[in-house]
């Protein structure tokens, strides 16, 4: 399938020139086309923020909901129709800040969705405040003396919660980002892909060069099924590892575990109420 199929034509894109989001959009379309996923079979779910606008920039079904609430909606969409490919994609503020509680519990729930998080360590749409992943000392109009909070470590959190797929990419390497995206989409269960991305307007510290210098590729000898080793990698802060940290292919996805589909395994919109059964239930209250 040609990635042109996802193109929207001549549209007005709200991202700043040079933004890492452009690269992510291009790579996403390529990953989808290489996997042969048709726009009609795909649902992109997002929240609010610059990254969260991505569903508007490719041909797909989408649910652009509330700030921080992409994951509950994505979980429900997948649980209502298992035949859809569901990707929840948004920024670090949306997924890890406003939606932090859902991030934790979606990992525990393990729906078969991919979660792509654009991580630029800053708030873009609200113009330059700290994000949950901002590094200590990062000066902003609000954090005037520099960030004093410990940065949120999404990978360590995900691994500690036994997420079934945990990876990190840097959009400076499109090829690796695409490969990890494809793996995350194909993975059966919740797949977190944190994507480093420079913000050209509001983060002059963690720019393209900084990411280049402060990341490295996980060695091929790393065993992604080794949770302790994965956790140790996720806790590294000196230089930040890129690649597949952790994989657990034994966990059953949420929607395959729920009882709703035991008797009739079809999307919910095809379910019909069995009135005889309901009458039986009513009559049971004699």
């Amino acid at each position: 399938m040609d990635s042109e199929k996802y193109n929207m034509g001549d549209i007005d894109i709200a991202w700043c020139p040079g933004c890492g989001d452009f690269g992510i959009l291009t790579v996403l379309k390529e990953a989808l086309s290489e996997l042969g996923i048709a726009p009609e079979e795909l649902v992109m779910v997002s929240g609010i923020g610059q990254a969260a606008k991505i569903p508007h920039y490719l041909k797909c079904n989408f649910f652009n909901g509330l700030h921080g609430r992409a994951l509950p909606a994505a979980t429900a969409i997948k649980a209502s129709n298992k035949t859809l490919t569901v990707i929840a994609e948004s920024g670090d503020g949306d997924m890890y800040g406003e939606g932090g509680n859902h991030f934790i519990h979606t990992i525990r729930r393990n729906p078969n969705i991919a979660n792509f998080v654009h991580n630029n360590m800053v708030y873009g749409l609200t113009k330059g405040q700290a994000s949950p992943t901002s590094r200590r000392g990062f000066v902003t109009p609000v954090q005037v003396a520099g960030v004093i909070l410990e940065p949120f470590n999404p990978l360590a959190v995900a691994i500690s919660l036994e997420a079934s797929f945990v990876a990190r990419a840097f959009i400076g390497d499109k090829e690796q980002t695409k490969e990890l995206m494809k793996k995350a989409i194909v993975h059966k269960g919740y797949a977190l892909l944190d994507i480093f991305q420079p913000c050209v307007s509001f983060n002059k510290i963690n720019n393209h060069k900084w990411f280049k210098e402060n990341t490295y590729y996980i060695d091929e000898s790393h065993n992604p099924y080794d949770r302790n080793a994965a956790f140790a990698l996720a806790c590294e802060t000196e230089k930040l590892p890129l690649g597949l940290f952790y994989l657990n292919e034994e966990k059953e996805p949420f929607e395959d575990c729920i009882t709703a589909y035991k008797l009739y395994d079809k999307p919910l919109y095809k379910h019909q109420i069995d009135t005889k059964k309901l009458q039986g239930l009513i009559n049971g209250f004699y």
Partner: protein, 567 residues
């Protein structure tokens, strides 16, 4: 004024949480009903798992009884504290049945060897079956009926436990019978009727059954008293009826899941109480913007904040009405009877689907915890009206239409793409800041109100549409008001029960204007429906009968209040 009929007996069971009052209540309801006696049961309980004092009222009658009365004919005190706890409901004619070990002294105390008979059978645990036996003995109910119910109730227990419960019940029964035979207690005479086709359910079950009948196949909620019964019920039957039932991490997740589910073609609901709904309001606003249907059941309890978690109030009408930023239509239903809760809960899904708006079912603790016998509900009586369309390649989710309803597609059904956008959007669902289009979109969403009003549930006038005095009420007070009017027996006074509180049916204004005198009855402190009526119809109801104690209105309270008003 008519005095309450003699064959209407009010039993109150009171004891500590964890003592098993619920077991006694469930058993007695089944036994009385199988003996052909109408029953009504409701409870008031504390927000704790053990200790404290909880009570359950069971009314037994030859005729239909469906409301809470203050009068207590027989108080079964399983704890000495019961007498102080219920002092306002104990009258001079109340008989208090209490364990003989009590140190309390009073004229109307009847001491019963409850703990002695229980330990003779095998221990304290059998005290509940002794109590069931004593009460059944007073009513001289056929042993066979009682044993049948005990066997089916304890079906999952060992044979030994079942036979000991029967034994305990029998020993209680003999004692109860002896109280009547010795003239210690005089019981009214009942005329049993054939209730074999009746069922006994409570408000939470009526809402849940209605939801299933309305095609509900997804529920996501966070447990919150007194709304949890609906989540529990649908979870229990999730496999049987193909319902995705998920306990969300919070109410915010719950509402966003339910909206996501509707987007993908499910018929979803969330159940909560006021505090949980407060967290859901951004989601309600989202549904307003996405034009995604959503059904929310709110079982009200007194607020603000944590308030009285296990008690009742009609204090969240305004929250249901105004919760959610921005302007968009919604529908609020407030059923008055169990039958109506079944019908309206089912209808809520059709309305939400048709108009693509939030539909709120407003009940309260009094309603969800009220049980009575009703004729069997008809599962075939409700038609599921699905409004989903198969999309074409050029499908536009937010197509501008005259009635404001854009045909709703779902992803994966058809060739089109289905978009949902919380930003102001164009017809294709993409973000727009075209301000002319913004105006068109607002108009489109609000245009739906015209058809929503036309489809509004008609309020009920009872007993007659000929009246001088009108008593307005809504939601759970239906049967309490009805019984109060029956007691008053005035041909000039009628009840107007409003089961759709928003938007109001158009007939309400003329009905109000027809009356010489109008009073409103609400379980809140500020007359929230009265305010809404004034806003909608300009009609000001000056006489308000309000109750916000946390305990629901009793029939006597309303009877007295109407009587005072009409003096």
């Amino acid at each position: 004024m008519k005095s309450s009929s003699k064959d209407d007996y009010s039993i109150v069971l009171c004891g500590q949480a964890g003592q098993g009052i619920q077991t006694v209540e469930s058993l007695l309801m089944k036994i009385f009903k199988s003996a052909g006696l109408n029953i009504y049961a409701t409870k008031e309980y504390m927000s704790r798992v053990r200790g404290g004092l909880n009570s359950t009222q069971i009314r037994v009658s030859s005729k239909q009884v469906r409301a809470f009365v203050k009068r207590t004919d027989l108080l079964v005190a399983l704890d000495d504290g019961a007498i102080r706890h219920l002092k306002k409901r104990i009258g001079k004619d109340t008989i208090v049945l209490i364990d003989e070990k009590t140190a309390l002294q009073s004229q109307n105390l009847v001491k019963a060897p409850i703990s002695e008979l229980a330990s003779k059978t095998g221990g304290k645990i059998y005290a509940n079956s002794v109590a069931v036996g004593i009460i059944c003995g007073l009513f001289e109910i056929e042993q066979k009926l009682i044993e049948e119910q005990l066997i089916s109730f304890f079906a999952k227990k060992d044979a030994d436990i079942i036979s000991k419960n029967i034994e305990a019940q029998k020993s209680g029964y003999e004692f109860g019978e002896s109280l009547v035979q010795s003239g210690t207690i005089t019981m009214p005479q009942f005329e049993p009727c054939d209730l074999s086709d009746d069922i006994v359910i409570n408000g939470a079950q009526a809402v849940s059954l209605g939801a299933i009948a309305g095609g509900c196949n997804f529920i996501s909620s966070y447990p919150m008293s007194p709304s949890t019964g609906v989540l529990v019920f649908l979870s229990k039957h999730s496999e049987q009826f193909g319902i995705v039932a998920e306990q969300a991490e919070d109410e915010i997740a719950a509402i966003n899941m339910a909206i996501g589910a509707w987007y993908a073609g499910a018929r979803a609901m969330a159940t909560t109480s006021g505090g949980g709904f407060a967290l859901m309001t951004e989601g309600i606003s989202l549904a307003g913007m996405l034009e995604t249907p959503i059904v929310v059941h709110i079982a009200q309890r007194p607020g603000p904040a944590t308030g009285l978690p296990t008690r009742t109030e009609q204090g969240d009408l305004e929250l249901a009405l105004y919760g959610g930023h921005g302007e968009f239509p919604r529908i609020i239903l407030a059923p008055g009877s169990l039958e109506q809760a079944y019908e309206l809960s089912a209808k809520a899904f059709n309305l939400a689907d048709k108009f693509q708006v939030p539909v709120i079912i407003l009940t309260d603790q009094y309603f969800v915890d009220s049980n009575y016998n009703i004729p069997e509900l008809n599962a075939d009586g409700i038609k599921i009206e699905r409004a989903i369309v198969e999309t074409k390649p050029d499908y536009k989710r937010y197509e501008l239409t005259k009635d404001g309803i854009s045909p709703r597609g779902i992803p994966g059904f058809g060739k089109g793409l289905v978009t949902a956008d919380s930003d102001e959007h164009d017809e294709e669902g993409h973000i727009t800041e075209d301000l002319d289009l913004r105006v068109e979109m607002v108009n489109k969403r609000l245009a739906k109100l015209t058809d929503i009003i036309a489809a509004a549930e008609k309020p009920e006038l009872w007993p007659s549409d000929n009246f001088e005095n009108l008593v307005v009420c809504w939601g759970s007070t239906y049967h309490v008001v009805k019984e109060a009017l029956e007691n008053l027996d005035r041909s000039d006074t009628t009840m107007l029960h409003i089961a759709q509180v928003y938007p109001l049916h158009e007939s309400i204004k003329t009905t109000l204007q027809k009356a010489k005198k109008v009073a409103i009855i609400e379980s809140n402190a500020t007359g929230q429906l009265a305010k809404l009526i004034k806003l909608t119809t300009s009609f000001e109801i000056e006489h308000k009968i309000l109750n916000y104690s946390g305990l629901g209105f009793s029939v006597e309270q309303i009877t007295d209040a109407i009587n005072d008003w009409l003096k």
